[in-house]
Every structure is written in C-alpha cells, then in structure tokens.
Amino acid sequence: MNWASSEPAARTSVPATALDDIRMAFELFDAWEDTYRFVIDLGQEVAEMPPGQRTPAALVRGCQSQVWLHAHRDEGSGHVRFDIDSDAHIVRGLIAILLAVYDDHSPAEIVAFDIEGLFDELGLLSHLSPTRGNGLRVIVQRIRAVARAAGDGHASTAK
C-alpha cells in the first residue's frame, strides 16, 4: 500500500482511550465477560470509515472479518496517522488498542514498539482463537510495513 497517497480521513471527536488506561483496565478484569465488554466498547470509539474508503486496495488480507487500513504522514510532525476499521465489533476493539499504540507516532517508534510484549501483558492472545490472533498479527504487519516504508533510513536497522 502506498501510504503517502491515501486521503486523510475525517476523525470523529470521540477521544480515544489511551494505552495506559487500556493497560489499567485489563489489570482489573477477571472474567472474560468484562474483558470482552471493554474491548467491544473500545471499538465504539474507532472512527467509522466512510464506505467510499473501504476499497479493495485498503483491505488487509488474511483476516476473517474485513479490515481496511489507510495511513498518511502528518506533514508537520512527520508522524504516521492511521485509519483502520472493520466490520466486526471485537476486531474494532482490537483495532482501538492498535491505534492507541501506533497512531500518531514516528516511523521509528512504530517499528521499535514491542507489540508481542503488550499482547502478552494484556493476555490478549490467550483469549483469542488462533485465526483471530493471526488476523491481529496481519494488521500489525501491515502497520509496521507502512512505517518502514515511511521511515526511509530507519527501515533496515529497525527490522
């Protein structure tokens, strides 16, 4: 995907839950019901992608649900901005977590982030079926590929 050519999408005004808040919330949960209610609620915060942007080119292949991803680079900060959406509620919640991690960061930060460590800490993958876990990793791979493409010199070292 050519991140530079993507249109910046309109964002809703719902403030996204920050990564630290997500971490704290996960620590409190014992029952799977609480975890999933929270994940599904997080999904409600994800800006809905207009149908016109849900193009085949934006599809992340390898997920059982449909996932669309657009990225562009913020001219001022040089950070990568992501718009990601899905037709499945739980996936949207997982996308909210990925956005809390990756959105509005520099390419080098994105590539350097230890996402598997976070998944372990949240116990996220132990909750998910293998296909769902793989789907999540496929989105992460796409995000990292975008960041590497954007991060010129950093790309090869961060890999």
Binding site: W32, Q64, S65, A88, H89, I90
Partner: protein
C-alpha cells in the same frame, strides 16, 4: 445393532469427548472425533503388524498387505461398491476429486464441452474443475442455488448435450441440504455425462449406497466419518477407472518399468503411486466397521432431534436467521445474527467452551449467492447430546447480548 436409547452411551466411545466435559464440540463437519475402536486399530497396526505393503518377501509384509486390502474391501462394502477394485485410496475428498479432474476429465473434455457444478460446492469441488476446464478449453457452468437447495430449473437448463461431467455435493457442509443424487444422475444419464459426487459430509450420517445413487464417482474423507486424517477414497465405476490414465507416477503403480517404456498396474493400484497410508486404511476400515455396527436409522433420528432442538432454541434469539432448508437435512445448523459478525459470535462462543466454525466454510461462491459475509455453523455428530445443544443455545443468547 444399537437401539436409539443406547446412543447417549456412544459418547463414551470417544475419549476426547468423554475427557472434556467442559467442551461442547459442534464442529464435526470440519472433522469428527475418533472412537476408541479407531484409535486402537491404528495403534495395534503399528504395534503388531507394521510393514510395507505389496513388496517384501517376508511374512510380516504379507500380513500387512492382507490387512490393507481387507480394509479396502470393508470400505467397498460400506458403500455397496461392486468390487474392492473400485476403491482408490486418496488423502481425502479433495484429492479424490482432483484425481477425477486430472485423469478422467481430460479424456472426455474439449472445447465446446462443459462441466456443470452448483454454487453450493466446497472449493474442493470447484477449483479442480476450473483447472480441468482451463486445460481442455471446456466451459464451467454453476447452477443457481438458494438456502433451500439447488434451483432445479436452472440445473435442467444448464445440463445440455455438451455436458460431460456433473459434479455436485451430496450433503452441503454449510446448509445441510441433501441433494437428490438419483435425480441428478437420471438427468446426466440422458446426455451421457458422468456424475461426480462430493460425499465428504454424507458418510458419517447417511448409509451411502453408490449403486442406488446412480453416480459414477463418489469422493469422501475418513476424518469426517470418525476415522483418521490423511486418508479417504475415490469410488469409481470399474469400467471408467479402467479407461483412465494414471495421474501420479512412481512405485506401486507399475507393472513393468524399462527406461524406454513402463506398463501400469491394474486397478486400483494404477492410481496409488508410492507407499500408501497403510495405517490410515486400517483406521478408515475401523471407522466403517464402527458405523456399520450402529443402527443408522436411530443415528439419524438422534441427529435430527439435535438439529430440531437447536433450531427451535435459536429461533427465539432476536435478529437470528437460520441459513438452511426447512426440509430434512444433514446435522448442520448455519445461522446469521443481524448486525453481528459471525467471527464475533464464534469468539464469544469459544469463550463459553462452545466450538463452532465461522466464516465462508470454503464455499465463497455460496456466500456470494446468499449475500452473506459468512455464517456461524454448528454441526452435530452422534456423540452430541441434548444438553450440548442447550448449552450452545444459551451461549448464543449470551453472545447476542454483547453485540
């Protein structure tokens, strides 16, 4: 013969089911669990009878060959084949269909001819025909379907005098629809087309009789009929198999090899290149014996009751639609819930210890025809109980509350 009242006890024949009271396994259409008798047969083969077949000059190999060929006879009898020569071992349904598409199809197809399939086929009964048509210049035609079954008018319209092959699923893995194979065979007979049946979902639930079905080829997998993975069979009419060229070559399938020329072995060995899945053959025969020892009618009653119980429970769930025929069907219940992605439902069911399958079920053209991104599919087998179904329906209700 097992009476209906005994079926509840059969659950104890299946170690995985018996050892996992926490799990409600409703994914038997993907693969069934295996009874102790099958596990024992395979272990016993390796412990006491393992040797390569059809080759060595020693007694152990002779005994292994005998057991291997006895397994072929058992499976032949299970489906009422005329002779064990009509049973070719394959890896499963997929390979059996590929064998017909690679060996038989090119002998009958050319430009202007056509192959008729339906839109409810599993990918394994679509892609081999696409490839065969590409190679031979024939046309692939797909008959329209609804969730209730094949569009009979469209079928009658698409089968024409240039149709050489009609390939159709016996029991749909998504809808549970049981297709009228004798009717399709009569239609095909009129234009001299061969009928290839994908029996993957039928073998565990119906008493398949290839003579009564009137088809020419029948493909199935052991692992969906309480047997092991990695083996299945193609049944074909002997006179058709006789005319077919080999498709894979090497050892076992030859009569005589010279560098200038090789002559091929007779049936069924001509289609079985290389060392076969010997333990698998022992396993599928044990599964056929296990099924043969049960009262088929009682099994069907049991499985039909589970389907009816599940459907009447699911119908109470708001926004839920059952995707399948009203008529009698195989033990499969597909459904969709308004505004809820099948994958989300599957995940929430998994959290509650209910194993189902979600998605397109390797039948993307069917999903397209139905206008659905996928379904949630619960599939039942003889070891499932009414209490499994109750837990399942309860779990679907709970998932619904989340979404």
């Amino acid at each position: 013969m097992t009476q209906a009242r005994d079926i509840a006890a059969l659950r104890h024949d299946f170690p995985l089911i018996a050892n996992r009271p926490d799990l409600v396994y409703l994914d038997s259409a993907a693969t069934t669990q295996k009874p102790q008798a099958v596990l024992d047969a395979i272990a016993e083969h390796y412990r006491t009878a393992n040797a390569n077949v059809h080759r060595a000059a020693h007694a152990l190999s002779g005994a292994a060959t005998e057991a291997f060929e006895a397994a072929r006879s058992t499976v032949a009898q299970r489906i009422h084949a005329q002779s064990p020569n009509e049973i070719v071992w394959t890896k499963g349904t997929t390979e059996a269909i590929n064998l017909v598409a690679a060996s038989y199809a090119p002998t009958v197809l050319g430009p202007g001819d056509n192959v008729v399939i339906t839109r409810m086929e599993h990918h394994s009964n679509i892609v081999p025909w696409q490839v065969a048509c590409e190679r031979t210049g024939a046309e692939l035609k797909a008959v329209d379907v609804s969730m209730h079954g094949i569009d009979q008018d469209d079928l009658a319209g698409k089968v024409d005098e240039r149709t050489r092959i009609v390939a159709v699923v016996h029991v749909s893995n998504v809808l549970g629809v049981v297709n009228d194979i004798p009717g399709i065979a009569r239609l095909a007979r009129k234009v001299d087309a061969a009928v290839v049946v994908d029996g993957a979902q039928a073998m565990a639930h119906l008493d398949v009789d290839v003579a009564a079905l009137g088809c020419d080829f029948y493909a199935f997998s052991a692992h969906k009929m309480y047997g092991p993975t990695g083996i299945g069979a193609l049944w074909g009419r002997e006179h058709l198999l006789e005319q077919m060229p080999p498709w894979q070559t090497g050892g076992e399938m030859i009569e005589e090899v010279r560098i200038e020329h090789t002559s091929y072995a007779g049936l069924p060995f001509r289609f079985e290149a290389g060392t076969p899945n010997i333990a698998g053959a022992i396993g599928i025969a044990a599964a056929a014996d296990y099924l043969g020892g049960l009262d088929g009618a009682a099994l069907r009653t049991h499985e039909t009751e589970l389907v009816q119980l599940a459907e009447s429970g699911l119908r109470q769930v708001e926004g839920l639609e059952i995707i399948g025929p009203d008529a009698a069907k195989g033990p499969v219940v597909s459904f969709a819930i308004e505004d809820a992605h099948p994958q989300d439902i599957g995940t929430l069911l998994d959290q509650q210890g209910i194993a189902v399958r979600t998605g397109h079920h390797c039948a993307m053209p069917l999903m397209e025809a139905l206008g659905l991104p996928g379904t949630v599919r619960a599939s039942f087998a003889l070891y499932n109980s009414a209490s499994d179904v109750e837990r399942f329906v309860q779990a679907v209700r709970k998932a619904r509350e989340f979404l």
